[in-house]
């Protein structure tokens, strides 16, 4: 009896060893680790976007761009189906952290497209970087996210312009073209708005202008009169408020009631470049300027046509093309580094994926020719423009407004 038991056990041991040695298992020799995808399993791409709350239009806009990019590949990559899974990152640090924890817990996700808001990315990145994931953002613009000395983490990339560029363009336009010599800024406490107004203020002062007031409101504030009264005390030539709706609606509208702000030029940024902004703000928005993403060209028109065919109408915001390019950069990098086994299984090294994305150069995207820097800035700043809102947008329903200046 004992001999038979021993015999059976040794047969089992042998078969286990043989099973492990044989077959076409791919070896993972990546520094961080690998994602192993079986022969019939889908390749999972994650997204972390703002799909609820006041800035949900940003998420819908980006998600549409991602879905179109996946459709363009026929919904599959390397003969594996592409599966899109998503988390709501809200437009806050807490939302980004929660979404990141959920995404990081799913070890089958290869890469993530997101977030929309810089505040979410700042808290999400430590978690995602630790998990070995890559995050490529279509609309994060805060400079600190790609600054090695600030909040940069390995694995972070973005196709949106860095606000260092946007703030500079806005300040130079304000000083040189609009002739403003004094300016005030209002932000809303988010990394995006605070960073952008800081860049604007620095460049404006560098050019020779004076910043009379730098203040902030809270997200959710509806009464801007106290802070506008504060601004009006010095009667600046220009008011720069790179914030979101609805605070960005209240400021121009309520400034009409404050004496001292009658001749102040209103200047916003890409957070308010949303379909419906002008109609919501009302007549007070006429003559207002805005900086924001500006994409043009035949490829972009093709993307808009695809959007209309798939969803109907036009995209709600300005970063869909950036989301499209971001997804394509990610998918191209996956294709480049994936090891395909004989049985159809796929092995993707995480560090190899990061290296491939960092090495992206001369990528022919809808937003321009993209090359990623060491710290993840893939955009060259080509896709920026200054818009002016006219009556056509306020009561005529025209969107987007005309671009009046490109750097």
């Amino acid at each position: 009896m004992k001999r038979i038991t021993l015999f059976v056990l040794s047969i089992m041991l042998l078969s286990i060893i043989l099973a492990a040695c044989g077959g076409t298992t791919l070896e993972c020799d990546d520094e961080i680790g690998c994602v192993e995808i079986g022969a019939d399993e889908p390749i999972r791409i994650g997204y972390m976007l703002t799909i609820s709350g006041a800035t949900a239009f940003l998420g819908e806009d980006s998600r549409g761009g991602i879905e179109i990019a996946i459709d363009d590949r026929g919904g599959s990559l390397l003969d594996h189906e592409l599966e899109l899974v998503g988390e709501d990152s809200l437009c806050s640090a807490e939302g980004g952290q929660t979404a990141a924890q959920k995404v990081a817990a799913d070890t089958q996700i290869v890469g993530v497209v997101g977030t929309n808001c810089s505040s979410a990315a700042t808290s999400a990145m430590p978690i995602l970087s630790e998990a070995g994931l890559v995050l490529i953002s279509p609309s994060n613009t805060a400079p600190d996210l790609t600054d090695r000395a600030k909040t940069w983490q390995p694995g972070y990339y973005r196709t949106a312009h860095n606000d260092l560029f946007q703030g500079r363009v806005a300040a130079e336009y304000a000083y040189n073209e609009l002739g403003a010599r004094t300016a005030a800024t209002i932000h809303d406490g988010s990394p995006y708005a605070d960073g952008l107004q800081a860049v604007f203020a620095d460049v404006f002062a560098e050019l020779g202008g004076t910043i009379t007031f730098q203040g902030a409101v809270n997200v959710g504030d509806t009464d801007m009169r106290p802070i506008l009264t504060n601004v009006a005390a010095d009667s600046p030539d220009l008011l720069y408020f790179p914030i979101f709706e609805p605070e960005g609606n209240f400021i121009p509208d309520q400034s009409t009631e404050i004496s001292g702000l009658e001749d102040t030029i209103m200047f916003g940024a890409d957070g308010m470049l949303v379909n419906g902004y002008a109609a919501n703000t009302g007549p007070a928005a006429i003559g207002m300027y805005m900086s924001g993403p500006f994409v043009s060209g035949a490829n972009y028109q093709a993307l808009l046509d695809k959007w209309d065919a798939k969803f109907g109408g036009s995209p709600p915001s300005g970063f869909h093309a950036h989301a499209y390019d971001a997804t394509n950069i990610l998918l191209d990098a996956i294709e480049k580094v994936a090891q395909v086994g004989d049985d159809g299984s796929v092995l993707i090294g995480r560090q190899a994926l990061r290296d491939a994305m960092t090495a992206t150069a001369g990528f022919d995207g809808v937003t321009g020719t993209l090359s990623c820097s060491e710290t993840g800035d893939c955009a060259t700043g080509e896709a920026l423009g200054i818009y002016q809102i006219t009556d056509a947008e306020v009561s005529g329903g025209n969107w987007p407004p005309e671009v009046i200046f490109t750097p």
Binding site: G220, T222, R225, P226, P246, E257, G282
Partner: protein, 354 residues
Amino acid sequence: MRQRWFENFSWVGFILTSLRIITLVLVVVGIVGTLRSGKYTSSQWISLAVSGLAQGSIYALIALGYTLVYGILLMINFAHGEVFMAGAFTAVFVAEAFNKSGFLSQYPIISILILLVVASLVSMSVAILLERVAYRPLRGSPRLVPLLTAIGASFFLQYTFRGLYGSGFKSYPKVELVSGVINIGGSNIPIVQLVVFFSALLLMLALYWLVERTKMGKAMRAVSENKEVAALMGIDIDRVIVFTFAIGGILAGSAGVINGLYRPQGVNFFMGFFPGIKAFTAAVLGGIGSVPGAMLGGLFLGVFESIGPNLILEGLGIPGANQLKDAIAFTMLVLVLIFRPQGILGERLAEKKA
């Protein structure tokens, strides 16, 4: 004398007294500092005060809903902010339609009345539904249970409206009739703010008349005093409670349209959250359960939010004063509650009622 002081001395009393003194000193220093710097003219203060009153009237209307429900059921209806949103968000579509067809510019008063009716009806229905579905089954359960249900109902309503109407922002059209300014004391006060204040006042007076002079109002007061005895007296408790929720809903819906006149932008499924919290704060500040208290609390909170940061914080040299607007409002609430827990006009409840 000194002997008695030593006998009656307690650490808690000492800390509270010093807190009173410190607060008073800070406030006075802040006010003096701001006024001395002369940054704002008196006309600017007047305009801030009037806009504070307008904002406060809207808080007051919503706070009345909180206070009425608390008086009757001893529960905080946290979903009341969403009742406000329901009316405002539905009426905005009607307003947009009126604007597009030109009806609004031709017959502004009739359109506003229609908007008020629409918003009040929607808010009233939402409030009554809330009571029927979320609160009535839980009558008699421990106090925490309806509270959590209210919070859950609040989220439910928010996202239901998001599903129905989308997540984008809408805005009320500008009404020509109430635009324009009037010069009072050297500052240009927008007429719409005065309209808001007086219409809210009218509604509050109507409510006061309802509660004090009508039979239903008497029934409401009786139920809030003692539910069981009121039932023994032949009052239909369920009917009174539904009526209370309905009145709260009507007030909230009207507040929604009035808010749309005064501040047209920002209409969104999430717009009821912050006003709900602020109105609850106002109700507690004025004395929860007391109708004049809610009115007073709302007005006080509105004016304080408007003037407070500029008046007190700037004089103290605190940077980013306007960002601390909410902080200062809630700090004021905490201080008032420390020194007068029943609120400004509230009565200390007898032990057996609590």
